[in-house]
């Protein structure tokens, strides 16, 4: 309805909060919108923008790693002074590239771009709410993220370059300006941007949690929530508990950098001169950082797993296997994510006994993760598979989750970690299990919910091409890295040309770089598909994937408030696909049990009578209300 009434002029004067026919002008509709759907799209477009920046940075450093002798002067128009006179990439800028790639991908793409998009878009639509608990705070959350992005983006153009101490910004490297150029103003901007980002995530998370708990429609009990919502809910809980600790860590780092305290600094000599700082502990920062850092992995991954559950069940035309087991394993992952952080620190000089405790806790995570994998596979097993692009990306996620997860078992062992720590084995592991898997979850979500977002379908054929190039590309990039890592290549090195052992792996590194560049350019197919389909795509039907969840009961392009009339009531769980006895192969959540006597299970048949009584009472109440109003 809002769409039909767009009028650019005199909108402000007619604006009335109690008026259901909103007269939005361009600014209130597209920029300072409080509508969860528009905010979700803002997050999505920002996420895509950042994904390309982050991907482009990785192409730059892959060029350096694959072709260390290459003349890069052709990049001078973009990189300017970072390419020196002989056409070489500046080594400190290489460090900045790696740092910014990590920061952008982890926080801006896979946290804000993924959670921000799909939590905002799907929570109100799938639980049956008109909007988020606080639309204003939701808008504020996006704009804090935007400011954070502007600051981070600006830091890319600093004379001394952006932050260069790695995305984990360990002190003393990040705390001392003298350490590397990237620890100067670049680091200050990095910390400022992260403070805004933390505020944004907390506001978003508070909103997601209160919406899921307070605004579910009638009948939408927790045991009937789609797994997407469970995943977003738990993600928000993890964020609420872990981001404040990152804030603490960053605050102490700011004090060390700008006020001269010694929380993380002790006994440091620069050019033979001792710094005044004593009594600090660098490992303390690592503890605080990884208390966020590890849960962050699940903040990135859980929403992708939730999306996958939904997409796989819908396109297998089967109920998700082990709905309760899925919830329990997500709960297990949530709790365990807070007690494993020190497995990032096995070689930091931490007490080895502590290491074995954290090893034990880490390996326990394999259990809920494996439960989830088996449930995906058993949902697919003998399903009536429909290979939509969203489905392919979901299956791709399961594949990466398995191959990347298995190497986690090696890395989780504190003894093996002595050999593998900070090598390309680690890079391969987390890029598969958290990077590529979450990225595929995000793409699956975009392909699957694009019709609901824009009322049009994305092109399937381009989707298939995009999928195969990306899927094969990701394996070609990251699989060889396992070998490089076992061979002993450390991460974050500018080049290995000085080590003779590295000579026999030159080809492999070259291969990885070429694969990375091809995969990067394959993403342009997606961007074209995305923006082209937004305007020229085939018009979508109301329920193109024949799915059960509530968002498909809204109009094709839902306006403010999502449902034009009453919010529908929910009578069943969201996974009644191919139910024995039923004519249709899907029964939406809004269909009462009493309307499907042929397919009801024995325990459901007992509920029918009660359901009828309640519906009659509701009916009587509605009629009563209407007669009162008239």
């Amino acid at each position: 309805m809002a769409v039909a009434n767009v009028s650019a002029h005199d909108a402000a004067s007619t604006h009335d909060e109690h008026d259901h026919e909103h007269h939005d002008n361009f600014i209130t509709k597209y920029i300072f919108s409080t509508d969860h759907k528009m905010i979700a799209k803002q997050y999505l477009v920002s996420g895509i923008f950042w994904a390309f920046i982050g991907g482009f940075l990785s192409v730059l450093f892959r060029l350096q790693l694959g072709f260390p002798d290459m003349d890069m002067s052709f990049l001078r128009p973009i990189l300017g002074g970072w390419i020196d006179a002989s056409g070489k990439l500046d080594p400190t800028f290489y460090l900045a590239l790696v740092t910014m790639h990590g920061t952008i991908m982890v926080f801006f793409v896979l946290t804000a771009g993924l959670s921000g998009t799909f939590s905002n878009f799907l929570i109100p639509l799938q639980i049956g709410a008109r909007d988020m608990a606080s639309g204003f705070m939701n808008m504020l959350s996006y704009w804090f993220f935007f400011i954070s992005g502007v600051i981070m983006f600006a830091s890319l153009f600093l004379e001394k370059g952006p932050a260069g101490g790695g995305w984990v910004v360990y002190p003393p490297l990040s705390a001392l300006e003298q350490a590397i150029p990237g620890s100067g103003l670049g680091m200050t901007l990095w910390l400022t941007a992260m403070v805004f980002f933390i505020a944004s995530s907390l506001m978003g998370g508070i909103n997601y949690i209160s919406t899921v708990i307070n605004l579910r429609t009638k009948g939408m009990s927790f045991s009937r929530l789609p797994l997407t919502i469970w995943a977003f809910f738990l993600t928000a809980v993890i964020g609420l508990l872990s981001f404040p600790v990152l804030f603490s860590a960053a605050l102490l780092l700011v004090f060390d950098r700008s006020f001269g305290t010694s929380f993380y600094l002790s006994d440091i000599y620069i050019g033979g001169e001792a710094l005044p700082n004593t009594g600090g502990s660098a490992v303390l920062y690592q503890h605080l950082f990884w208390f966020l850092g590890h849960p962050e992995v699940y903040i990135v991954l859980l929403p992708a797993l939730g999306i996958t559950s939904e997409v796989i069940a819908t396109n297998s035309r089967k109920p998700i296997f082990g709905y309760k087991a899925m919830i329990i394993s997500m709960l297990g992952i949530t709790i365990l994510s807070f007690v494993v952080w020190a497995h990032h620190m096995f070689v930091s000089g931490m007490n080895p006994f502590l290491g074995s405790i954290f090893m034990f806790l880490t390996l326990i995570i394999a259990v809920p993760s494996a439960v989830k994998v088996f449930n995906y596979l058993t949902t697919l097993w003998r399903g009536n598979l429909r290979f939509t692009p969203g489905m392919l990306f979901s299956i791709g996620l399961v594949s990466f989750f398995i191959s990347g997860g298995l190497t986690g078992i090696f890395l989780g062992n504190s003894a093996i970690d002595i050999q593998l720590h900070d090598t390309y084995f680690v890079v391969a592991h987390f890029h598969l299990v958290m990077g590529a898997a979450s990225f595929f979850g995000m793409l699956a979500g975009v392909y699957h919910w694009f019709p609901k977002m824009f009322g049009r379908m994305m092109d399937d054929k381009l989707g298939y091409v995009h999928f195969w190039l990306t899927f094969v590309g990701v394996y070609l990039v990251f699989f060889p890295m396992h070998y490089i890592g076992i061979a002993g290549f450390p991460r974050r090195y500018y080049s290995w040309t000085n080590f003779s052992f590295a000579d026999m792996y030159t080809d492999l590194n070259m291969f990885v770089s070429v694969a990375a560049i091809v995969t990067f350019f394959a993403q342009f197919i997606f961007v074209f598909n995305f923006f082209y389909s937004m305007y020229k795509g085939r018009k979508a039907s109301a329920n193109p994937w024949q799915s059960n969840t509530l968002e498909w009961t809204t109009p094709v392009e839902p306006g403010h408030g999502n449902w034009p009339g009453e919010i529908p009531t929910v009578y069943r769980w969201p996974y009644d696909y191919s139910k024995p006895g039923s004519e249709a192969d899907f029964i939406p959540q809004t269909v009462p049990l009493s309307a499907t006597p042929e397919s009801n299970l024995p325990h459901e048949a007992k509920l029918v009578q009660l359901e009828k009584e309640i519906m009659e009472e509701d009916e009587a109440m509605l009629v009563g209300n209407e007669s009162k109003e008239s």
Partner: protein, 193 residues
């Protein structure tokens, strides 16, 4: 009808708690995590040795007393609001604001006492932590005082009474939390000193 509904759904109706109150509780959770992180950092760092020993300022005992008194006066204001005793609401709130300022002044004196002991913000982390704890708590407390003043203004306009308690209740929750947080920090410092 409610009972049947809960039976048929196998779970409760949505809690439908006041959304802003709920958001406040979630905010409190995040503040708890900030201080949990800080105090854990304190313990971890202390365990590594090279730790400056010094006496806690005695002012902390007085400021703790003040913060407890302020919670009591705010609670009296809340009881008055429930009974629509408009004058006592204003009195209680005013007293709480004054006690809040008194607490902040007291914390300032605690910093002076630390300086008198040669414990500075820059130096051994044992001292730095002391300033970070009190400073970060004071910043939150200032936000609480601002909240109190906002509530006081609407009380002066007679907008707070037994039919309109939400704002006051949120303020009470937040203030009691800040008081409890300070008592926790003080106890923590007494025990891990």
């Amino acid at each position: 009808m409610e009972e049947k509904l809960s039976f048929i759904e196998g779970a409760e109706q949505p809690l439908a708690m006041h959304p802003k109150k709920f958001a406040l509780w979630l905010f409190i959770v995040s503040v708890v995590m900030v201080f949990a992180g800080m105090t854990s950092a304190y313990i971890v760092r202390q365990g590594e040795g090279n730790w400056l020993e010094f006496d806690l300022p005695n002012v902390f005992w007085y400021t703790s007393g003040i913060i407890v008194l302020s919670s009591i006066s705010l609670h009296l204001a809340y009881m008055a609001a429930k009974k629509d005793n408009l004058n006592n609401i204003k009195l209680g709130l005013l007293a709480t604001v004054i006690l809040g300022f008194a607490f902040l002044v007291g914390q300032w004196f605690s910093w002076e006492a630390l300086v008198a002991e040669d414990v500075y913000f820059v130096g051994n982390p044992a001292g730095s932590f002391m300033y970070v704890f009190t400073g970060l708590h004071a910043i939150h407390l200032i936000s609480g005082v601002i909240f109190l003043i906002i509530v006081l203004i609407s009380a002066l306009r007679n907008k707070i009474h037994s039919q309109n308690l939400a704002q006051l209740e949120m303020c009470v929750t937040y203030w009691h939390f800040l008081g409890g947080l300070w008592l926790y920090l003080f106890m923590f410092l007494l025990l891990n000193h």
